[in-house]
């Protein structure tokens, strides 16, 4: 069977794949990284979003062999070795940006990409537009939008995480 080699969360991984094997199947079934979720069959929900070479893409709509040789970051790869959360994860916690948590891994990965690609500022409308590919059934999005806005200055070294208003 064909081999695909990836660097996942900093570690090299070489796996056997079929032509039809999706990136999300490699992550969940072969590497045991079940933080990346599958929420739909139609490429619309975004629960499966991971970073491939720094870009937030849908791992359910990517064949493993298409990204052979790439560097992949999943939700498991965000926190520091000592358990310190990534600023976006911390913001989601502080702002109560999740309820059931199913959409959260994809939301966080998309949110990080959105913040990174907007170094000059990020408006509420840009955040809402930027989340078009991530569906949440629980939160109504408001707290997710607030968390992303709060993470922006932290990620760009322009401030600390403001406490959420009670």
């Amino acid at each position: 069977m064909p081999q695909v080699t990836l660097t996942v969360n900093g570690k090299a991984a070489s796996v056997e794949v079929e032509g039809r094997t999706l990136l999300v199947e490699v992550l969940r079934d072969k590497l045991g990284l079940t933080g990346t979720h599958v929420g739909c069959d139609t490429s619309q929900c975004g629960a499966c979003v991971v970073h491939v070479d720094g870009k937030a893409i849908k791992s359910c709509t990517t064949l493993a062999w298409q990204v052979d040789g790439s560097t992949v970051t999943t939700i498991e790869g965000l926190a520091a070795a000592d358990g310190t959360l990534h600023p976006m994860q911390e913001a989601f916690r502080e702002y109560h940006a999740l309820q059931c948590g199913f959409c959260t891994p994809g939301m966080v990965m998309s949110a990080i990409d959105l913040v990174t690609t907007h170094p000059d500022g990020l408006t509420e409308q840009q955040i809402r537009d930027g989340l078009e590919g991530n569906i949440c059934r629980c939160t109504g999005y408001h707290n997710i939008v607030k968390a992303i806005a709060a993470a922006w200055p932290v990620m760009h070294g322009r401030g600390t995480l403001a406490a959420a208003a009670e």
Partner: protein, 263 residues
């Protein structure tokens, strides 16, 4: 998904040879093909990757913008050159699907697929683009042949799309709130090929030119020139998202907005 073999050729000639097999299918971004394969609506024996053929990139001259087939939507959306030469095209690309789709989806894949609700076909038709393939050049007017149908022969690969730079142009889309595909999208252009208006999302046969609007706008390029010109509901798409009459009305409204946006 049924299983298949895959191949990653590194030049167009090899890809064309591989696609000579009638059961082989090209893949670019996979943002349409993979969902189709998941639904088992297609059963290729070999999937041929087109992204290693060197067909990605944007070239701008004084009169044209040429976009390589495997150029992603995000590349077009964020290109300063495209934003300067044909801002409407960059705007269109920045509104395709969502960010994750735009990172992988390509202009060649979009035009090859010719989804009746896709965005790029309207730009190609309104701007009078030329579709370049491994074997010929096809004028947009001859290229789109009904929904999911194009002039491409089996195994023919789109290599690039050449857009003449218009004097002015605008694209306005009324997106389906769930999928972001166009319920109705109107691309208006005034350029070397005259005034051209292309409508996507609305027609049963896919993208079409709105000749009544073109005639009115050629005489007077203003939203007011379209007042009183009601698009007939005949031939409009009807589904759970909207009736034919609703879409016909949207065409009128969105076209006026597009003309106003073009200025």
């Amino acid at each position: 998904m049924y299983d298949f073999a895959f191949s990653k050729p590194t030049n167009v000639a090899d890809a064309v040879k591989l696609l000579g097999d009638p059961d082989a299918k090209p893949i670019s971004g996979g943002q349409t093909l993979i969902p189709v394969l998941k639904q088992r609506l297609n059963k290729p024996t070999t999937v041929v990757d087109l992204t290693k053929l060197g067909l990605s990139g944007i070239t701008v001259t004084a009169t044209t913008v040429t976009i390589g087939a495997t150029t992603t939507h995000v590349t077009v959306a964020t290109s300063a050159d495209v934003a300067k030469a044909i801002p409407a095209l960059a705007h269109l690309a920045s509104h395709i699907g969502d960010r994750a789709v735009r990172y992988r989806g390509t202009i060649g894949g979009s035009l090859a697929n010719n989804d009746p609700t896709a965005d790029y076909p309207s730009a190609a038709l309104a701007l009078g683009a030329t579709i370049k393939t491994d074997r010929r050049s096809i004028a947009a007017d001859d290229y789109f042949q009904g929904m999911f149908t194009t002039a491409l022969e089996p195994g023919e690969i789109i290599t690039a799309v050449e857009f003449p730079i218009p004097e002015k142009a605008a694209y306005v889309k009324f997106p389906n709130p769930a999928s972001r595909y166009a319920m109705v999208g109107v691309f208006v252009a005034k350029g070397p090929k005259g005034v051209r208006v292309a409508v996507t999302g609305a027609g049963q046969n896919g993208v079409f030119r709105h000749t009544a609007f073109e005639t009115a706008l050629a005489a007077n390029f203003s939203a007011g020139a379209l007042a009183g010109l009601a698009t007939p509901a005949d031939g409009m798409n009807a589904d759970i998202h909207g009736s034919a009459a609703y879409r016909a009305h949207l065409v009128d409204v969105i076209a006026k907005r597009a003309v106003a946006a073009a200025g």
